[in-house]
Structure formats: C-alpha cells, structure tokens
Symmetry: C2
Subunit: 288 residues, 2 copies
Amino acid sequence: MELIEQSRIFEGRQLRLRHASSSCHCDMTLAIFLPPQAVDQSVPVVWWLSGLTCNDQNFTTKAGAQRIAAELGLAIIAPDTSPRGAEVPDAEDGAWDFGQGAGFYVNATQAPYDRHYQMADYIQQELPSAIQQALPSLLKDFKPLDFSRQSISGHSMGGHGALTLAIKHPEQYRSASAFAPICAPSDCPWGQKALGAYIGQDRNAWRKYDAVALLEDRGYSKPLLVDQGMADSFLDVQLMPDRLEKICQEKRIPLTLNRRAGYDHSYYFISTFIESHLRFHAEALAQV
Amino acid sequence: MELIEQSRIFEGRQLRLRHASSSCHCDMTLAIFLPPQAVDQSVPVVWWLSGLTCNDQNFTTKAGAQRIAAELGLAIIAPDTSPRGAEVPDAEDGAWDFGQGAGFYVNATQAPYDRHYQMADYIQQELPSAIQQALPSLLKDFKPLDFSRQSISGHSMGGHGALTLAIKHPEQYRSASAFAPICAPSDCPWGQKALGAYIGQDRNAWRKYDAVALLEDRGYSKPLLVDQGMADSFLDVQLMPDRLEKICQEKRIPLTLNRRAGYDHSYYFISTFIESHLRFHAEALAQV
C-alpha cells in the first residue's frame, strides 16, 4: 500500500492510498481520515461507501465529515465504488449505472465480471487486514486503527452496500446507517440491471444483496439509521424507503428513518445530516 | 438571471445562477447560498472569490461553509473566477495560471483581454445590482439581500481579489479576510504574468491590484484576517504573507495573520478554518 496524498484537516490527517487488490485483481485507490486522537489511541473505524459514478474522493471532499470525526475520534475509510482499470470490464454502452463506478458492493459470479467485481469481499475482508498491515509502517506517528470497533454507512448504491454488509455481518459492524439507500435493488431498475449482470438471472441469488430481502431472511438487531430526502428524484423508482420501513415494522427491527422535506440526492443533503450519523455511530462504537 | 440549480442544505438554499454579464460581455455562472433566516429577514452578504482553476462550485461544494452561514444568517455569493466561453481569449499555451479560470479580479486594459476580463467591476459593481434586481422574482419566498452590509473573502488568487477590492472600497466591504492570498502579485510569477498581460508593462498601473502596494498607498482601517498554511507549497514564491505582515506593522494596520502549521493550499485547509472567518465577518456585519 502506497501513500499518494496527505493533507492536514481539522488537526487530523486526510490520506489517499493505492494498493494492488487481491480480491479485485487491479490497483485500487482509497481515502482514510485519521482524527487527531489517532496519534495517541487506537481509534474505531466508520466505513463510508459511495454511490454511482463516485470514487473515494466525493465523500472526502464534499461531506464535511472530518470536522465531526475529529471531534469524536473516528477514523473514516472511503473505498472506491468498483474495480478500475483498462483490464476491468465496463459497461459496453458507456452507462454510468453499471461497470466501473458502479460495482454495487457484490461478489460477481458471472463472466466477464467475476474476476474483478469482488467488492463485498474487498471491503469486508481484504481492506481491514490490508490497512492494518500497511498503515503502521506508512505513518509511524499514528497508532493502528481498532478494527474490533467498526461501523458502516453510505449513500445511494453505497447505502445499499452499507446495509447489506451490516445485515450479513452483524459481528463485524456495530451499527449501520445510510443516506438515500437503494433499499430493494431486486425490485428497481438500477438493481435489476446490476444484479442480473453481476450475479445472473436467478433472482433467489439476489437476496443476499438486497437489504429488504436480507431483513426478511435474517432480521437485524443492531442500531439502524436512514435519512431520505423527500425531493430526491430517485425516491419512488430506485430507492423505496417505504419497503425498508415496512419490513422493519413487521420484524420489529428498530429502524430510525428520517424523511427530510425538501432535500435532494446530492452531497448538500449528506453534508447537512452527516453529523447526526457520525454521532449515532460514535455511540455504538463507544460501548465496550 | 436564470436559476439553473437549487438544493436545500442546512435548511437554507444553495442556488446556481446564470446571466449575461454586461461587464464581461459573456454568460457568467455564480452560486449563492441563502440561509434560512433569509425567508424572514434581509440578510447580509459575504463574497467568496476562488483561486486559480476554480469556478463558482469549488467553495460551494467543498468548504463546508453553509453550516456556519446558516447558523449566522449570512448569504454567501461565489462568482466565477474569470469570463468564460469560446469568444473569450484564453491562455495560448493552455496554461492554468492565466486566461479562463484565472481572471485575477482586475479590469484588463490590454487587447485582446480588455473586452471580457473586467472582473473587478463585475464583482464590485455589476453583480450586487444584478442580483438585487433578479433574485426577488426568481425566489419569491426569500427577502432581498441586504447589500448595505457586505464583507469579502477568498482563497489564493481570490484572496488577492478580496484584499484588493476591500482596500479600494472600504465603504462597500465592512471586513476582509483571505486564505493563502497572493499578497504581492507585482513581485511573484503568477502575478507578474497576469498583470503584465491584462494591465500592461507599466508596473505603476499594477499597484491598484497589489494588496501590499495598496496598503502602502492608501492604508486600511477595517478588520482584516488572513490564514496561511505553513505546508503550502506556494508559500514563499507566490504568496508571501510576510510582506503583508510587514506593511501592516509599518502602517499600524490591525491585521490578524494566523500561520497554521502543517496545513497546505487545499480546501482541506479552508474547510478547517472557514468557521472562524465567517464568525469574523458576522461580527463586522452585525454592527449598525
């Protein structure tokens, strides 16, 4: 793992790193924010998964999260949204909702995507150990991160990624939150396109990449927070928070769903409410 | 003036507008943040002038200023950094430090730049009245802005713009601040290149676009705040805050110059300290 950029921000350190991913078989770039507390303590980790068309920089430059993470003593890891590179198969029609920038946080099973599109394993398995191994020698003035305390959040496609990873790995992530997540990808155009190509046409195999289906199948007992803008143009056709609310009510899963009047799908919406999400995760991460 | 985008953020409104500029003889795009207080009150204005290569969106998406402006009841106007368009002469060698994206907030006197590069008049004269005229009919649910209360800030080339406009128009701007400003453009490569081409080779004519020279010639008695990162790679050759500090000491001008250890020239630096700048301006703008 190679440190390609670093800047001081809010007395912490914003890093950008590059490494050869063994899961995705390509070079991957990621961003990590280290709060000032990380000089003296092993701090917990919040993962941020971004949405369609994004990379590791959108959240890092636009959300205003470092101010709050610096106060709360949280590291934030923002991976890229897909494998990248000339050798990685992309959308044949140049579409922005499939292929590079649109990995949907799945482990693809279908050729030609299965070799590189292994984003679920990349984020849940490979990155924690790769970061744990590399960071101490890259940054000798910081303590190692505390991967025994992880929480996860994300936006849109990344909200889908955060919810599905959290529901499948409750032992790994202490809390989950999302901004405008794709709640039921099996039943929306973005999800059907991606899951059909990455996972194949057996819709039963899609259930482990669908938050509503996962909650039906497995339930969830960790803290769960979702914010949704009510002026979001993707609300009814792609996101469907009502479906998430319904299954949580049926299964008595304690979801906090905030419907935010007038807010759209942009980072202006995320920047407004990221403070409440980080405080929510900090509370779960503070418990022994 | 046409409203081309709007988003809710921190209960206020982030706008993007386009209009035909009579000063610059081209279409210009700008961003305005209206705080929630602007629904009921005529709120004061902070101008933000961006740096080389930027447009109206860099500050708007990256600085995290809206949170604080929403608390303080400040409107923020972020103009573009130069005239734009196919008909506007640009750097012949494709340089990023001259031409489009690099207007240097001057009124050019030299052909072929003089027809379009009139950024000083555009910001100081045209925009206040153009906005005052257009906004009430575009946004009927907000009160007109209070242009009797204006302050100005900016970054790098925009810090130069903010300081020079403020020193020349103390009746218009109640306070001035800057992040990593080009303090003495007559004596640095960026400034010499731009002023030579826009204003000509008579270095005496450059003095009204040089903060240090203007302070020598005219002094200044309004509140003045500058932050400078000490890990800024442009510090010694292009920015020269020591020159600003020296003339302020000589002329007993009350400058607050904060040297910030470890911070670079990026928006990570700006986002860390923008809160203190907006609170500084709010104090000057609150006085009757």
